[in-house]
Amino acid sequence: MTRHSSTMPAMHAPKHKRPNLLGGLARSREATLFAVLIALVAATAAVKPEFLNLQNLRDVLLNVSIIGLLTAGMTVVMLMRHIDLSVASVVGVSAYAVGSLFVMFPQMPVIVAMLAGIGIGLAIGAVNGVLITFGRVPSLVATLSTLYIVRGADYAWVHGGQINATSLPDAFALIATGSLFGVPNLVLIALVVLIALSVYLKQYRGGREHYAIGSNPEAARLAGIRVERRVMIGFLLSGAIAGLAGVLWLARFGTVDASTAKGIELQVVAAAVVGSVAITGGVGTVTGATLGALVLGVINIALVVLRVSPFWQQAIQGALIVAAITLDTLLARSVAKRMMRKRDHG
């Protein structure tokens, strides 16, 4: 018997092509999220038509870009059943460090600033990676520790200091204010990174290994995957993205101090979870994660636009997160059930 001779016709009876189940499932989850997003925008616009103006869309995209980037980085890590809580601290320290560089070297080219931010992120990502792979420290513990340590170091270094927009060169500010064909540069940068990451995860062997590791670490090892190396790469990616996000944060907000981005790690995890990235690993896409970040971002701004009392905003957001997770899971289950039933009768 030869293996998979592609000339051999399929033996079994059912000739009709079944829909691509894997793709179908993934698509349907993202499709729902997309529908939710559209519904949110539509509902808000119905009450407040001016919600749909260009300026506001720009703002929403700008807001979501940074969280969206972080969420995508978190996705890579979460796919492997890990988590990176240190991202917020990395953003903070990278933003301040790059800002200080601008204070010292006002003529520094923008690309150097980006590389510096990415470099800082890579360094902290490497520490996380080493702790997790070599030190065998569970990622939640390791990154919770680095969250504290990096933020503490940031505090100790910055103390009461502050970088203001005035210290930043105009070329740098252009990242946030400039645009190409009406799309803000910052959004374009985020988009490029997101697409690259998405292609990596879907189209490349290395990307698929992240899924394999999260799905079954033991089996991944047996399949010859170098798990340690891949986990390391995941944390480097997440760190680098957080570093870049720090630079973008600086460009967008102009003012950074010791507590910049404090606490956004939970927002990022929430966005990923809303975006159908499983905390238990193996499931999720960058598209989903980005949609998750968009949904949360739109809710955020919609509540303000709809003049919901600030005291209610957080409660509503929390309730919506819980509802989103629940609905998403129920939907995934019903799809799985349908699939099973089909097989039973197929």
Partner: protein, 507 residues
């Protein structure tokens, strides 16, 4: 097996220890092209450890590995794979969240000029491969939700797709029923024709004679014997494996049938099983036979309250049982030894004693608090009765060999002193010695008046142990055969149902 050529694969005096546990003391093996080679030994003899050394999962503490006569050292499974070794491990090693095709091609997906994965080519090849295996599975289907048998098929497909010249299979048939085993054998024979060297581990000795040409027997981590299969008998093998002769294999005692202990009426779960009704009496072993995927385990799980049912009722010793809560079932006197011991039977990181006491926590309470002493006494008692091979009852149960793990699961349920014991694949993956002990234990239990429902895919065990054989086919009970009338043909034809096409479907 030409004299001047080196063996395809040779392991010389390999040893391996895990902490203080010496899993392999002196493992040796020669594997020639074009042979199917049986590796035999009791549970814990070190077979899987040897396999993992060959596969590059473990590095031996000492010893030599030669491929085509050249000394090699595999630092990881990828290196072994690249050297032409394909391995089917004892426990399925699949990625539940990925498609079948990706499982098969992980790490070596076909790529285009930009090094991107070519999903279309990959899926096409896998579909072709699956259809040569005669299974109704599609390449793009997720592995999550596949039955154990289907998972095993995917493992086999994975190994075949490697086009390796050494194929190592660690108990590939443990989860398969007869037609699937036959199909696997046909594939293995075809590979042998193509000069592939095959190492085959099993605890079913009839398979050894049906398939293999040579064998290596291990005991306590040491190779004790090798021979041509044609020169051996079952008794000879068993005595080499166990180091002594075994008494009667199926110690079926004739016990007078008592009152009805378990009564199931009209049990239905949409799409899984339909209108299942039967009784099990005290002092009786009722076997539930059928093909893998017939829905037997699902019936057991439903009775025990793990899965919901759509209709039907269950009585334990005449009292109606409220379905849906395992705790209620246990209180009513029901015990279920599940089919997948690692996933369902044991908490692998917890100690043997802790696992054994899990079902009887409530009974260990003295003065409102759990007494650690009665816990370890309990574990020790049952360990002794089942001849558990463990160095330390406080060691994590995951460090035991498969068969010994099964004994812990059995012991933990016998400790509840149940009225009805449902036992799903009681001897899956355990050695002949342990099997004999399980059979003896079952015989003792029914003699003491227990009612036993035994789900089994092994026909000899069904015919040897059961007072009555119920056969399931596609979710319905298709036959109820008394011991006297039970034979292989009757059970198999009932299991296959009327239509012969059913043979083509594994799931």
């Amino acid at each position: 097996m030409t004299d001047n050529k080196p063996p395809r694969l040779e392991l010389r005096h390999a040893s391996k220890s895990f902490g203080r546990v010496r899993a392999l003391g002196d493992g040796s093996l020669q594997l020639w092209p074009g042979e199917v080679h049986a590796l035999l030994g009791e549970n814990g003899a070190g077979k899987s450890t040897l396999v993992k050394i060959l596969a590059g999962v473990h590095q031996p503490d000492s010893g030599e590995l030669l491929v085509e006569g050249i000394a090699r050292r595999f630092a990881n499974p990828a290196e072994a794979r690249d050297a032409g070794l394909a391995v089917i491990y004892q426990e399925p090693t699949l990625f539940a969240d990925l498609s079948i095709a990706e499982n098969i091609y992980m790490g070596r997906q076909p790529r285009d000029g930009l090094r991107r994965i070519r999903y279309d080519a990959m899926n096409r090849e896998v579909d072709a491969l699956l259809s040569t295996l005669g299974v109704n599975l599609r390449a793009e289907r997720l592995v999550r939700g596949l039955s154990i048998a289907d998972q095993q098929v995917v493992e086999i497909a994975k190994a075949l797709s490697l086009n390796a010249n050494v194929l190592i299979m660690d108990e590939p048939t443990a989860a398969l029923s007869l037609p699937e085993v036959e199909r696997l054998f046909a594939i293995v024979r075809a590979l042998r024709e193509r000069d592939v060297a095959i190492l085959f581990i099993t605890h079913r000795l009839d398979e050894v004679f049906a398939l293999t040409q040579r064998m290596t027997i291990m005991r306590d981590g040491v190779k004790v014997f090798d021979a041509l299969t044609a020169e051996m008998t079952i008794d000879a093998i068993v005595s080499k494996m166990v180091g002594r002769d075994l008494d009667t294999f199926y110690p079926k005692a004739d016990v007078a049938r008592g009152e009805v202990r378990l009564s199931v009426r009209g049990l239905t779960r949409e799409g899984v099983f339909k209108n299942v009704s039967f009784d099990v009496h005290a002092g009786e072993i009722v076997a539930l036979a059928g093909l893998v995927g017939a829905g037997r385990s699902e019936v057991a799980r439903a009775i025990f309250g793990i899965d919901p049912v759509d209709a039907g009722e269950v009585k334990i010793a005449g009292k109606p049982l409220a379905l849906g809560k395992p705790a209620t079932a246990v209180r009513a006197g029901l015990a279920l030894v599940p089919e997948d011991r690692r996933a369902q039977g044991l908490a692998l990181e917890l100690s043997i004693a802790r696992n054994a006491s899990l079902t009887v926590l409530g009974r260990l309470v003295k003065h409102g608090l759990i007494s650690a002493k009665s816990e370890s006494t309990l574990a020790a008692d049952w360990g002794k009765r089942l001849r558990l091979k463990a160095s330390d009852l406080d060691a994590p149960v995951g460090t035991l060999s498969g068969g010994n793990q099964q004994k812990v699961v059995l012991g933990k349920w016998l400790a509840t002193n149940p009225k009805v014991l449902i036992i799903d694949e009681p001897t899956r993956g355990i050695d002949v010695g342990a099997k004999a002990e399980v059979y003896r234990t079952l015989a003792d239990l029914v003699r003491e008046g227990m009612a036993v429902l035994m789900i089994s895919s092994e026909l000899p065990e069904v015919l040897g142990m059961a007072d009555r054989v119920l056969v399931m086919h596609e979710g319905r009970i298709s036959a109820d055969i008394a011991r006297a009338d039970a034979n292989e043909e009757r059970v198999m034809s009932a299991a296959l149902g009327a239509s012969p096409q059913a043979l083509g479907r594994a799931a």
